[in-house]
Amino acid sequence: MMTNFLVLDLRTRTMMVIFGCLLLFSGIFLGAWLYGEQGQTTNLPLRKLPPGWDRPFGTDWLGRDMFARTLKGLRISLEIGLAAATCSASIALVFGLAAATMGRLVDVVVTWLCDVGMATPHLVLLILISFACGGGAKGVIIAVAASHWPALTRVIRAEVMQLRTSDYIKLSRRLGRSSAWIARHHLLPHVAPQFLVGLLLLFPHAILHAAGLTFLGFGMSPHTPEIGTLLAESMRYLSTGMWWLAVAPGLTLVLSVMAFDVLGNNVRALLDPKTLRE
């Protein structure tokens, strides 16, 4: 027993990784809340300072603390990603279930909608929807929320279709169970983990697309320092050698997106019975 004390099994390690990711996200939210408006106050004597002990990310051309601004921007990015991914995943769930259970016509329509939704390059679609919503923060959120569902819809549709033709469900039907009973006891336990993992793995895409869209200048006024806006603004100061304006905020964005990816994959490993016992 003692030998196993320090060697953690994969399951415990997975749990710890998940916990670490959640800790990082709460850290971002907590930090953004603690710093409050500090990232917006201009402090001209302290402008254009490179990173140091007091200000880990330096200050910008108005003397605003970049660390506070980055945290705030990251929080906005995470919020957009959260809202958009939840919205897209819900659409995917409804469409996927409808396609798989409501007959041939609905299936054809949903499959066709997926094809149309994936026909245009994603970024072009985002620009189009954002334009249609009149730009602004609203435009960005709607664009990201309304364009990420096709892939997950296909996954859920395929999963449910495969389940419906499986032997134990046919048997259950023969034993006289109602459709509602089967849906609750046989379909739900299979689809729920798929949905959760799909939702988690949508976050990285949603966050990156939102950041890309705001970087291009769609949405977000300079007063809401979303991370894409932050980086777009710093573009103007790159040639003057203020490298810290771009490096640290971008790096934190990469790390948080990676953390979401890791979180999703670890939750999948935990929920999937095939990898659960490894």
């Binding site: 149309v116 245009t120 970024l123 072009v124 249609a132 980086l231 790159l238 490096v247």
Partner: protein
């Protein structure tokens, strides 16, 4: 066999027509619901200077005073004839603008596409052949990191490093300022192209690497690879002589099927490097409310993505004998 091929091509063409019609209808509905006033967006800062009469003239000239349905009918009829209308910001036919800008983008996309494809494939093979080796771990870490990295940020870092600090590459544009595209030499074009293409490639490698790695691992565990192993063949030998042909096909088709992401990446990279290609034009059209141009680009990029997927399917069809026998592989 030719009959089957004809059927395949016919089905694909029909699909393209339906797809473009659906995308055209949906995008038209979207842009006509936009609260952004196209006249305001066109005039921009000079909005106070134009008189109501001038505004009326612009509206009448663009046909904005008609009901949406009539406008859509007219636009669709023109579209069917291949006329995409006139771009409001460039004052040129949309087709001419797209053609000119796309050629500039094509340089960038082709270079990045080939580079990321070849390098990603090679990295994926190495990672898959020596699974769990230090090289595999390194390659995987790189690929996962790049999958989470925004294209524009990579571009900014490269721009800062190579253009601002080292001064090896130009800061902007596709050719030296003051020259036209025709006057610039090939060397100058490539020099301006280098950083945007590297940016796109660094990101683009991720997907193809991970995909090839999966396929290679699958191939290395297959019966024929185990048999070769038992006969004393080294992992490298198995990859080169046995797995390569099986892994190459999915990699090539994936590379063709990822043209949409390539286009999206080009939009971001062109924005960072102020590269005057189609991607930058898309952003301009969106921000300055050039509806005909935006719709034109949406349709053009749809056809572009479709072509990629079509080529991917066609290659499968022509190369893989298993798929040719079961014609049901295509819908």
């Amino acid at each position: 066999m030719p009959l089957q091929l004809t059927k395949f091509l016919f089905a694909k063409t029909l699909r393209l027509v339906l797809l473009v019609a659906a995308v055209a209808t949906l995008s038209f509905v979207l842009v006509s619901r936009s609260p952004i006033d196209p006249v305001d967006a066109y005039v921009g800062a000079a909005v106070m200077k134009i008189s109501p009469e001038q505004r009326q003239m612009i509206i009448a000239r663009w046909g904005l005073d008609r009901p949406p349905l009539e406008r859509f009918g007219r636009w669709a009829a023109q579209l069917a004839k291949g006329d995409f209308g006139v771009s409001t910001i460039f004052n040129e036919p949309v087709t001419a603008v797209i053609a000119k800008r796309f050629v500039t983008s094509l340089w960038l996309m082709v270079l990045a596409w080939c580079f990321s494809g070849l390098l990603g494939f090679a990295l994926g093979l190495i990672a898959g052949a020596w699974e769990e080796s230090p090289a595999d771990r390194l390659i995987r870490l790189y690929a996962y990191t790049m999958a989470s990295t925004p294209t524009f940020w990579v571009g900014m870092i490269l721009l800062m490093l190579f253009s601002v600090y080292l001064g090896w590459t130009p800061v902007c544009c596709a050719w030296p300022p003051g020259l036209s595209a025709e006057q610039a030499t090939l060397w100058q074009r490539l020099h301006h192209l280098l950083l945007p293409a590297v940016t796109l490639s660094l990101i683009g490698i991720a997907q193809i690497t991970l995909h090839t790695r999966e396929k290679t691992i699958e191939a290395m565990r297959s019966d024929y690879a185990v048999f070769a192993r038992a006969q004393g063949e080294s992992p490298g030998g198995i990859v080169c002589r046995r797995a390569l042909r099986n892994v190459a096909l999915p990699a090539v088709t994936l590379q063709f099927a990822s043209l949409g992401e390539l286009f999206g990446g080009a939009v971001l990279a062109e924005q960072v490097f102020a590269y005057p290609g189609l991607g930058r034009t898309t952003v301009e059209a969106g921000i300055r409310g050039d509806i005909p141009l935006l719709l034109g680009i949406v349709l053009f990029s749809t056809i572009f993505v479709f072509t990629g997927n079509f080529v991917a399917d066609l290659i499968y069809y022509l190369v893989d004998p298993r798929l040719r026998k079961t014609a049901g592989g295509f819908s």
